[in-house]
């Protein structure tokens, strides 16, 4: 089924009255996900956003609670404010990444209220990629440029209209108001088929990487891999699945707040203990951590590789340290026999 963009836009604008809508917007630094009020603000034709939409669910810097001491009284206030939200135009890689973040923040054992509340109150409208960047490799990571996994509603851009697929009950509820659906023409169906069958040109082989990494903790492979890395967090901050954070106190006189801030394994400050000891004080240990966390530990703990092949880390790296080459390197590394 399809809906014209004109009709869709009207429904979108009407939704804005009840929902906070986060959508791709063209701004100075590139396309990013921001709150919008109208469909006309949405950027239609772009490869992928510069930064992933994860900061909506998991902000880079977030006040968890605030406190104030007056005399002997201490007041503590939690800062969680959640609006019903629509996340619009979410690419398959980022929708899948949210499913991975769910495994960390809203699993059976533990529910992070900040993440969980936002996630639970949001509807994901995914959108297929009509164009595929040469550094995208999602087809190798169990998804594809048109996979609807993780979306509540999934759209395929047909030019003047969208093909609409309602995936979940949440999506169905949001779509209830839309009455203007019509059948696809034969040409449009052909376009949908083309978009759905598209694969990324760039590919990696992760079939056996987890098992290989099981045996690679002490591999000499890690000795040189990291050498050109500048230890910045351009890769981890642009990654839709990286989720390490740090909790600190920001105190001024008799009041303060407990804040959660993104951390990243590339920086020397990562895992620095209060004692001064740092179990990962060398770039070698940090790069091993990055690869192990994504392709080994996360798989053992959560059953999935924590990389969706969005290619953002490749584009943002100032020294062109390409994770696809690192994956190849792991695959080709010789195992050291004791």
């Amino acid at each position: 089924m399809k809906i014209s963009k004109e009709k869709f836009g009207q429904a979108f604008d009407a939704l804005a009255a009840d929902y906070q809508i986060i959508a791709p917007v063209s701004e100075a630094g590139g396309v990013n996900y921001l709150a919008v009020k109208s469909f006309s603000e949405v950027k239609q034709d772009y490869l992928n956003s510069k930064l992933p939409p994860k900061s909506f669910l998991f902000p880079q810097h977030e006040k968890l609670l605030t406190y104030k001491k007056e005399g002997k009284d201490v007041t503590v206030k939690t800062e969680l404010q959640v609006e019903k939200s629509v996340l619009f135009g979410i690419r398959p890689c980022d929708a899948k990444a949210m499913l991975l973040l769910d495994k960390v923040f809203k699993n059976d054992e533990y529910r992070d209220p900040y993440y969980y509340e936002r996630r639970d109150n949001s509807v994901v409208i995914g959108q297929a990629c009509n164009k595929i960047s040469p550094s995208c490799f999602c087809s190798s990571m169990g998804i594809s440029p048109a996979s609807s996994e993780g979306s509540d509603i999934f759209l395929i851009d047909l030019g003047d209209s969208y093909q609409v697929e309602v995936i979940t009950e949440k999506g169905k509820a949001l779509m209830a108001g839309l009455q203007e659906l019509s059948e696809l023409s034969a040409d449009e169906q052909a376009l949908v088929d083309t978009i759905k069958s598209a694969q990324t040109s760039s590919k990696v082989d992760v079939a056996t990487i987890t098992a290989k990494l099981d045996k690679m903790f002490d591999s000499p492979f890690w000795d040189s891999l990291h050498e050109k890395c500048l230890s910045c967090n351009a890769c981890t901050f642009s990654c839709p699945t990286c989720h390490c954070f740090d909790i600190s106190e920001e105190v001024h006189k008799n009041e303060g707040s407990r804040v959660r801030t993104w951390d990243g394994c590339m920086a020397p400050l990562f895992t620095l203990h209060g004692s001064g000891h740092n179990p990962r004080d060398k770039k070698k240990a940090r790069w091993r951590q990055r690869m192990m966390h994504k392709f080994n530990y996360f798989v053992h703990n959560n059953g999935d590789i924590a990389c969706v092949g969005c290619g953002r880390c490749i584009k943002s790296c100032p020294v062109n340290l390409d994770i696809r080459q690192v994956i190849d390197g792991v695959n080709n590394a010789e195992l050291v026999v004791d």
Partner: protein, 316 residues
């Protein structure tokens, strides 16, 4: 460029064969179109992977203080100036350093290409021309159009300190330092400038790629990472980001060699250079100083003299 790369490889091969250095820090072909990536060559047979062209944009001096042992480093003019400052500041041992100097025509700023062609699918460099197949369109650029901003104002394309020079020298057309870009910024109203920097700083994600790409940002603990006192929060907004960027620039006063590595490293395309250039202009006008020109000197703000005429100097 072909004979230059052959000479670089031969020099690197010889240095490693003779055991004069443990490692040669240079560039190899990167994984993306028009990209080079730093490489560390430790055996003579690996020297053939070294490349040299307009894509060699990183300042390799940034690796000089991080790399153990005796090292040879391929240095453009700006890289050599950074090495000079590092030597002045006793961060490097001259005897452990072998500088393979190469004159530089400037490096390509890929962001200029992508602004027109969209993401680069394929590209080739022919003398003076860069042919690009882009996601949106194909286009042929002249090298001059794509030259990075820092290369356009560069007055030191030839290395200022080197142990061997490869290839010819480049004639420097521009005699006196020109700060037209800074003057343009100064001529804006306060409100315009504030709006400009607010927009630029709003893009910053505090990944610190700029700081880490800078060969002269070698502090063991950067002020932004210090938690006692805590100079700034982990908050990422225009004000906090400007505090970081301005603090970094001030710490580079009289030390910045204007290589532009910070701006090129920025994944968010923040105009960091605008701050650096203003600082360079002020240092140039106040102290008649350009950093990293000669090992004999020291940074404009690194000198202490008991004869300093300033009243604030405490004298016995």
């Amino acid at each position: 460029m072909n004979s230059i790369i052959e000479d670089i490889r031969a020099t690197a091969r010889q240095l490693l064969t003779d055991g004069k250095v443990d490692v040669v820090i240079g560039y190899e072909k990167g994984s993306l179109p028009l990209s080079a990536t730093p490489c560390f060559v430790r055996s003579p047979q690996d020297t053939d992977k070294l490349i040299w062209d307009e894509t060699c944009e990183n300042n390799l001096a940034a690796f000089s203080t991080l790399t153990q042992g005796k090292k040879a480093i391929i240095a453009k003019g700006c890289d050599s100036r950074a090495l000079v400052v590092l030597l002045q500041e006793n961060q490097l041992v001259r005897d452990d350093l072998y500088i393979i100097g190469v004159s530089c025509q400037g490096v390509i700023n890929k962001k200029k290409i992508e602004a027109e062609t969209g993401e680069i699918l394929e590209a080739s460099i022919n003398p003076g021309k860069i042919t690009v197949k882009g996601m949106e369109c194909d286009k042929e650029f002249t090298f001059a159009e794509l030259k990075d901003a820092s290369c356009q104002t560069c007055r030191y394309p030839n290395p200022v300190l080197e142990d061997i020079h490869i290839g010819g020298l480049i004639e420097v057309a521009q005699q006196a330092a020109v700060f037209a870009d800074v003057t343009e910024m100064e001529n804006k109203t306060d409100a315009e400038r504030q709006a400009y920097f607010k927009e630029q700083m709003s893009k910053c994600i505090r990944c610190y790629a700029c700081r880490n790409a800078c060969p002269l940002c070698y502090c063991k603990e950067c002020f932004v990472d210090c938690n006692s006192p805590k100079w700034l929060t982990g908050g990422v907004d225009s004000a906090e980001n400007l505090f970081f960027q301005a603090g970094r620039v001030l710490h580079l006063a009289g030390r910045c060699v204007e290589c532009g590595a910070c701006s090129r490293a920025c994944p968010q395309d923040v105009d960091i250079r605008a701050l650096n250039r203003k600082m360079s202009k002020d240092v140039f006008n106040m102290y008649h100083h350009e950093s990293g020109i000669s090992v004999e000197g020291s940074g404009a703000l690194n000198e202490y003299s008991a004869d300093d005429p300033e009243a604030f100097l405490v004298k016995e």
